[in-house]
Subunit: 414 residues, 2 copies
């Protein structure tokens, strides 16, 4: 049942040592916190904390007695402030009732109990700023040097295998199902003076959002970061969200970028055009597809994300488009990075914008590859995005969907 296997534990202890720290401390407002989730799998906790030291010891701290069963379901040693009793040497600060005060007290106790009296402690997890400052103060007062554990945690948890990989495969499969549902709906629409119509009503972005939400909810997935379904000039700006009331139109590009979460995230984009598809859009879509295929072909363990980005820029520049490299301020052309790591965070390591190890593809990474072409003035955006796991036998595409912009060319299932 435990979330952590021996290899992951050993890797963590090594990483803590490499960062010259005695321990990693995680503070989290919720157990879905990306720095805590790898330790607890799906267990539901509210405010909690965790200590992992470089000797391989790991203890989970919780604060609500009612959460004892959830805490123990993780298979980790679990302790709450209730277990400290009054004989604890830890001083109760004036803000002891806050999360920061309680977590600081418990973490100090756990550190001292394991023989740590000084040394560097890396602090990771996400919590209200006031609580983070409070915990740092308690540990510093106790004689520890507190440093950022954010990079340490991200490096440790970037490799995906076991239940984490299974969860991402499941999330990606549900994402694909939602995308197929969108394609089917668009294919079923009729056209009245360019407006898409279904069941006697205008078809709007809100209708697609609702269908996506229903498919994902039925699979047990959430969309904590929302989704992008945008058309025309709005689709021409990569991260703009569509206005739900917008009526969909034939001939316009419809960018559908879904990034739901099970325990971990998935991420996938397709671009649709309900015919007529202009020759220009058809040829731009082919170019984006060529960039996608080229980048996926070059994606292998040891490759640098920056190199992949350069190769992709070259594809678009040769076709006459500005890119982030040739014209960084241009809103037209290929205006964003090629991809990013995905896992407990929607954007995590590897970073396709970083030098060194953080920017190099490792075995176990899950990454997006998502080239696109945009022109807000001409009123279009075209993006294709696949999600790939870097397995021992090469990349596995977790989002094996059609790429056709015409939704009627997508095969129907079931």
């Amino acid at each position: 049942l435990g979330a952590l296997d021996e290899a992951a534990r050993a890797r963590l202890a090594t990483t803590i040592g490499q960062h010259d720290c005695a321990a990693l401390v995680v503070v989290a407002s919720t157990s879905s916190d990306p720095d805590l989730a790898p330790f607890v799998r799906g267990a539901r906790l509210s405010e909690s904390c965790l200590l992992a030291d470089r000797n391989g010891e790991i203890v989970l701290g919780y604060f609500t007695p009612m959460e004892r069963d959830e805490a123990r379901s993780t298979g980790l040693e679990a302790t709450s402030t209730d277990d400290l009793g009054r004989s604890s040497s830890a001083v109760v600060t004036e803000s002891a009732s806050s999360f920061g005060g309680r977590a600081g007290r418990l973490l100090r106790h756990l550190l001292e109990n394991r023989g740590w009296r000084s040394g560097r402690v890396a602090l990771a997890g996400s919590a209200p700023a006031g609580d983070v400052l409070g915990i740092a103060r308690v540990l510093e007062t106790a004689g520890f040097e507190v440093t950022s554990g954010t990079a340490l945690s991200r490096r440790w948890r970037r490799a995906k295998s076991g239940w984490q990989l299974e969860d991402m495969r499941r999330a990606a499969a549900a994402t694909c199902e939602a995308m197929r549902k969108v394609a089917a709906t668009l294919a079923d629409a009729s056209i009245d003076q360019e407006r898409l119509r279904l069941d006697g009503r205008d078809l709007r972005i809100a209708d697609l959002q609702r269908e996506v939400a229903l498919v994902l909810a039925a699979a047990g997935l959430e969309q904590p970061e929302g989704q992008i379904i945008s058309t025309g000039a709005v689709a021409g700006v990569p991260h703009s969200r569509g206005d739900p009331e917008t009526v969909l139109r034939a001939g316009e590009t419809i960018v559908v970028d879904l990034f739901p979460r099970s325990l971990l995230f998935a991420d996938c984009t397709r671009t649709f055009v309900v015919p007529p598809v202009s020759d220009e859009v058809q040829s731009l879509a082919k170019l984006v597809r060529r960039a996608l295929d080229g980048a996926k072909k070059n994606l292998r363990v040891g490759t640098g994300g920056l190199d992949l980005q350069d190769q992709t820029c070259a594809v678009f520049e040769e076709a006459g488009f500005p890119t982030l490299r040739s014209a960084p301020k241009s809103p037209r052309g290929y205006v964003h990075g090629l991809g990013h790591g995905v896992g407990f965070e929607l954007h995590e390591l590897p970073s396709f914008r970083a030098d060194g190890e953080d920017g190099t593809i490792h075995q176990g990474d899950v990454v997006t590859v998502e080239p696109g072409l945009y022109d807000p003035k001409a009123g279009f955006g075209i993006r294709l995005e696949d999600l790939l796991w870097m397995g021992p036998d090469g990349p596995e595409n977790l989002t094996p969907l059609p790429y056709a912009v015409d939704p009627s060319l997508w095969p129907r299932q079931g």
Copy 2:
């Protein structure tokens, strides 16, 4: 379109002054951060920050040029690090590329640009611990005293009106619809050797979870904190989550506690028993209902949450049950607090466990009232929870649902 009216701006400036601060600084990994969301309504931003000073000035900081349109849709003055240029006096630290480094640089610039060179800065919002520490370091190096802004922010944003109240009413209405759907499903079930059956299959917790998720998703709501649907001995521990594979049984208590989020949260609990309902459960349910009615009757502006809790304990103690007051360690009886504030956080001010203003009911508060009785050994839990807005004419119940434990007594709609 703006998220903030003049009254809210003025209240914020006053609150900042009351906390002896020059400014409130919010750092946020996402615009759904409870300390940032009141400023941006539904605008979608990734990492971002905000400066509000005690003179009433407010500036939103964003870091991704693609998010410019979203940032401006808030109606706030919006600035990104791109606008700083190279002539900025702010020093680029070695960790300038991290969120903490970029936010620290931008916030320092914004503070100095508004004439602040020293003084106390309250830091709120939630972000990775490493980034919080980095931002605090940049501001302290620049000459500011950094203190926790978590309490300040919670106090400022506890009053609900306007679009925030409308959003909570909408979220609560969808929650009620999901609860009615659960009641209807339970009422439709047949019984085979105590097991509930529907459509020729055993009815499981997972089936109810799926129905709830579909209703909420169709209304555009998320469940970022999950939900509790638990039965029997599991329901006997208030915060335990049910195992989805558990088959529902006649005669068992089924606790359904839903707490989805639109922009703000809603929160509501009902307890069901598919007949036969034992005399004991029936009389316990009546007692919980009496405690709920009593607490709602006593709920008014100026009341202390601790007093309401005391009154509720008295109801249960008089009936012979242990309570959190009479037997704090007992897993049996009335084992938790009476309620909590709800808003951009599921648990926020007022706190029913705090003394003073933080624990006193104010006009504009939205609170839960949720008495319950539990016995993990006997294998039951019964909880009833309503969500109430403290309006100028008294409390408004946002979750006006039936209280009957027998789902067949719930009126069918539509």
